[in-house]
Symmetry: D3
């Protein structure tokens, strides 16, 4: 995308907010944004605009695919707080429990067993809370 | 998979060898295995059996999907030697150039800009060698 | 090991189960395996067969040596949940408290002070629970 | 510094102890050192002498600058236990709340969004406890 | 920054391009952007707008400070290709050779000796090319 | 070690220099130190005193054991430049080629396949240069 062809900034913000609502509900979207302080507002702004408004709305990969990539990336990076929210969002985006399992089994080979063990534990816990495990 | 339901070990080995041939050609399969020494043979064996025979042949995710996950994982882990071979294999597995670009743009958000910059440089170089860039 | 010389798959599974029992007791072996669901069973299977059945039973390095390597690797990777279980297993495998301390002091130089600080805190806590600190 | 020009070892220790007291109070200095066991004493010794006595007292960068670098490094390394103590110490060293926010926004680009999200959450919690957020 | 108070998108792009020119010269700015293909253009666009237009132009930390943070982050992340370009840019931004050395000595404690050794080697090489070492 | 019981600083330096000579020859010890500039001298000083003088001379683990731990740590950290020098030093410290292979096979499980593949390639190359592969 060249700079002059991009959607208006406010449209990107609105689009990102919608993705957040769809994936995380009001608690992970409007409520987080309203609770932001001067300290956390720039972060929330980047999450809404750059992460969800721009990147998650880019072409070629649908939300389901992006959810699986995100779980793999977070597993390699060892970010369990965010594995937690993204497993829930992945189900919302149409990823099945079996597909999450297979993403993690694939991670095991590349990111190592301990990374996979941590993400399996987190995911199983989330799935249980959702009544799926 | 419980232990007693798994395919015979020799079948897993043969299946893994076939995946390696399909994805990397003879140079990345038979030739590497024949060139193995006492020092590198156990590694080659795990690559053939565990990585490609078992994991890449697991259910739910096809090879195209696994290629995209692998590129994302290798980008987060910073393993450029293997980004190189897996970009080539991804094209072989039906991933388009645009899809590779979008996987890397997605990685940028989660693994950081420098990780994405490195994988973009490696991928562009491989695609150029393949006459695709 | 070439594919045709490997032990039968069921023997590797049995050997891995025994290593798990020896190192982690029934709670970290049979009980974990019995508690496995469709979601976690493939992970448990790889842990038993590939990690403990194959790798921990490979030649040249005894269990004590492998315990020390494992603690170093988990410290570099920042996997505190698994430092926790492997410090306990290390004592079981004959690693002394002083040797664990020295492994962590060695990690400090290579993996950085914060990685060592985290593993010292986890290890001291485990050793205290075991009545050794 | 060549070996013969360095301050006496006991002076480095005393200087490091003073930096610890200034940055973390008695609880993060004398009390930690007194609570050290045979297991943790070598770690405490390296923290006092090498980390704070030698490195934090090196020339060119003042404590405020080193605090900001430390928060950035700990964010990239994902060491939240230590982000926690170093955010508090950073305030003590004259880093403002706004400067901490900007360090983390800078980290977001290079270390990725999840690393920044974790450090923002930890920092906001510490600042709240200090009555600054 | 709330979404409605941000500068126009085209102004952010122009500002980012100027930062790139100032820090890396035409070769690291206009020439890279002109050489971009469909594959690499979205990356170049994020570098110009998000990295340099938005983040490097944020308040509280000047370019010199951001250069030092960037070298620390890249050292912790092990991204030597980018240590290379950012050491050169740091000198441009007013960071002295002695300050670079001290940033790396500080990294040594937190990111470990091997990370520091790699960045020292890269930095010494760049400084030599610049006639400063 | 409490501060007052430590050997004199100049003795630690001399001891570290001897370890460097034993493990890396004059090229990796005296020659590197003599080639140090104002920029790299503080690094060389920490390598000699803290890494080799203090840590490698600590009790409980001999040099052979420390070599194996170091190769494992460098593999997990992805530091191939230093895997290169430490494989050579490991042979010097009495680690056999088979033991290096087994350390790397152990790393494969914990740090992931790509980390092991990189270290196998580096190690095989070093061993070949030494006439051992």
């Amino acid at each position: 995308m060249s700079a002059d062809k991009r959607p208006e900034d406010k449209d990107i913000y609105a689009a990102g907010l919608q993705v957040r609502r769809d994936m995380f509900g009001m608690a992970g979207a409007d409520e987080q944004i309203e609770a932001a302080t001067d300290f956390t507002r720039p972060l929330q702004d980047v999450v809404t605009r750059f992460c969800f408004g721009e990147t998650w709305n880019r072409p070629c990969l649908d939300r389901k695919m992006r959810s699986m990539l995100t779980i793999a990336l977070l597993t390699a990076l060892g970010k369990q707080n965010q594995v937690r929210v993204h497993v829930r969002a992945a189900i919302q985006n149409g990823v099945s429990k079996d597909e999450i399992r297979e993403v993690l089994m694939h991670c095991l080979v590349y990111a190592g067993l301990p990374a996979a063990v941590d993400s399996f534990a987190t995911s199983a816990d989330v799935l249980k809370q959702m009544g799926l495990e």
